[in-house]
């Protein structure tokens, strides 16, 4: 029997981690993620989970400890944000390169300088190419659901890759919402204890992370590319199995009101929710707009996106992190590359928004929808890059 709890995004992730029976958590607190590891450390202290909580001196050490623990066959979780993720950067590649199925909660936050504790996607986008599966949740329920699915995806022998589950700092990490949580037994039946393929074991020594020169390095990287492709199938399987258990349908892409849409917003995370509310109002005025939200950002779900976009004529792609000096920001570049590959002539413009936690309001989104509708009508993109709510 599922029950309803009032949980913040941080608490929802911590609760899911508890139900997933993790063996090791190594983490360092950082705003706005702190509460996530605080709550988990309480669970450990109170004996509610039989896990080792390793207090480390930095995020670099946190991920190092996670890698070591994961190699022994343990189920491992960590969490971070912002500077913490940046400090982990080196170790993120080691986690994916050594095929450690670690799950990490990230409460997305801006990067210094200037120092800022509020939400944007600069942290995860800064580590975009680290070989991790990357998921963005829209609300606390999605954060809870994705954590449980993330362990199953990560630990599948066909995948063996780390997964990050991202929630918008403060907007989700600190907002309490109703979350339908599963019974512990249901989580256990969905996610049995990890069955590692190869483990480090003092009785049967093996070498992990050996030097790999030009004769083999590329093949190892190619295997990671293949594993991310394989993850594609596994994610789909896990989503369907989770749907059977919960009735909640997850996929690579969440689309709203796209059936006959002329124009749409594509964005990640909580902004998609506000965009859906605005799309609903505009629909009541007869404006054909919709919203497409990639749940899974890596591997990038090209086929599902093309399907979701249907016959839309114009797209506003919203990025909450700046790719300085690039033609477009990260999500928009991926969308344009996907449209090119599928030979789709959809007009696209990029909106950079929300840096350092600047709120994107329903009015901002309404204006973006209206701009996209105008482009759908005329076929002319006047501005390829817009900066939402910035004082110039």
């Amino acid at each position: 029997m599922a029950r309803l709890m009032g949980l913040t995004g941080n608490e929802a992730i911590a609760y899911a981690v508890k139900q997933c029976n993790v063996d090791v958590v190594a983490a360092y607190p950082i705003t706005p993620q702190t509460i996530m590891v605080e709550v988990i450390s309480e669970y450990v202290h109170n004996g509610e989970i039989n896990a080792e909580f390793i207090c480390v001196e930095s995020e670099h050490s946190a991920m190092s400890a996670c890698v070591g623990a994961s190699l022994t066959g343990a189920r491992v979780f960590t969490a971070t944000a912002s500077q913490g993720l940046a400090l982990m950067h080196e170790m993120l590649y080691i986690a994916s390169g050594l095929r450690c199925p670690i799950v990490m909660g990230v409460a997305n936050r801006a990067l210094s300088a200037p120092i800022n504790i509020h939400g944007d996607h600069s942290d995860m986008m800064g580590s975009r190419d680290c070989g991790w599966i990357q998921i963005y949740a829209e609300n606390a329920q999605e954060a809870y659901d994705w954590i449980i699915q993330a362990f199953k995806i990560a630990e599948d022998p066909r995948v063996l890759l780390p997964v990050s589950v991202n929630i918008d700092g403060f907007i989700l990490s600190h907002s309490m919402e109703g979350v339908s949580v599963l019974d512990d037994e249901d989580v256990l039946s969905f996610l049995p204890p990890r069955k590692p393929v190869i483990t480090v074991d003092p009785d049967k020594p093996i070498t992990v992370g050996a030097l790999c020169l030009p004769d083999y390095y590329f093949e190892i990287k190619f295997q990671q590319i293949q594993a991310l492709k394989e993850a594609y199938n596994v994610i789909r399987e896990v989503n369907r199995e989770y749907e059977k258990l919960t009735g909640r349908r997850y996929d690579f892409v969440d689309s709203y009101a796209m059936d006959d849409a002329d124009a749409a917003i594509v964005c990640l995370g909580s902004t998609a929710g506000t965009a859906k509310a605005v799309a609903r109002w505009l629909r009541s005025e007869g404006k054909k707009v919709g919203v497409v939200k990639p749940w899974v950002y890596r591997p990038f779900p090209e086929e599902e996106l093309i399907k979701a976009l249907g016959d839309v004529k114009a797209l506003a792609v919203l990025d909450k992190a700046c790719s300085f000096g690039a033609p477009f920001n990260a999500l928009c570049s991926d969308i344009i590359a996907t449209l090119y590959r599928y030979g789709k002539d959809i007009k696209v413009f990029n909106c950079l928004y929300g840096l350092g936690g600047r709120d994107i309001t329903p009015n901002d989104l309404k204006a973006i929808f209206n701009d996209a509708l105008e482009i759908a009508k005329t076929g002319i993109v006047k501005e390829y890059m817009k900066f939402i709510g910035v004082r110039e």
Partner: protein, 184 residues
């Protein structure tokens, strides 16, 4: 029907707590709810805000609240010092902690197009709790002014959040504030 509530208080007065207690009660009523603090660092004693959204339908919006339907002023010293009525929708509601009558508070705020309720939350807190902790009293006054959640659910939430005598006393605080709050 979506109702947006803004809470005003000072760091340390339990503004996040009341914003969440109200949301918990709404969830118990079978409604949808969100509660969130003013984002950023907290400083004890500094003016702070908290927010609660309640709706009969799932709440997908995650932007800040700019035009609340209801404002609750938990700290009596804020009136006159900060614009507690900013962004309040026309015909909205202000529930204020004050010794003064709602007419006087309405006049001092200089607003016409809003209902105002007041309650002497400090008096109730001192009488029942013996301590100047008056955030829960404002929940009682709020429910008098607008029945956003049922008293049953509110009571259950309080007893769960504060087990034992503290919970019982806070329920008494809420019920007395409900009786004493007056509006205009």
């Amino acid at each position: 029907m979506l109702t947006e509530v803004r809470w005003h208080g000072r760091g340390g007065q339990g503004i996040v707590t009341v914003s969440r207690l109200l949301a918990y009660a709404a969830l118990l009523d079978g409604k949808y709810a969100q509660a969130f603090p003013e984002f950023g660092p907290e400083r004890r004693g500094a003016p702070v805000t908290g927010y609660t959204r309640i709706s009969d339908e799932p709440i997908v919006i995650h932007s800040q609240i700019y035009n609340p339907h209801v404002v609750v002023v938990v700290d009596p010293t804020l009136i006159g010092n900060i614009d507690v009525a900013r962004g309040l929708i026309p015909g909205g509601l202000i529930v204020a902690h004050s010794e003064r009558s709602p007419e006087e508070v309405k006049k001092s705020l200089g607003i016409t197009n809003a209902k105002v309720y007041t309650v002497n939350a400090m008096r109730i807190a001192l009488d029942i709790l013996g301590r100047p902790i008056y955030n829960t009293a404002m929940l009682g006054a709020l429910l008098k002014a607008i029945p956003l959640v049922s008293m049953d659910s509110m009571t259950k939430v309080i007893l769960e959040r504060f087990p034992g005598a503290v919970g019982e006393k806070n329920v008494a605080v809420i019920k007395r504030a409900y009786e004493e709050a007056v509006g205009v």
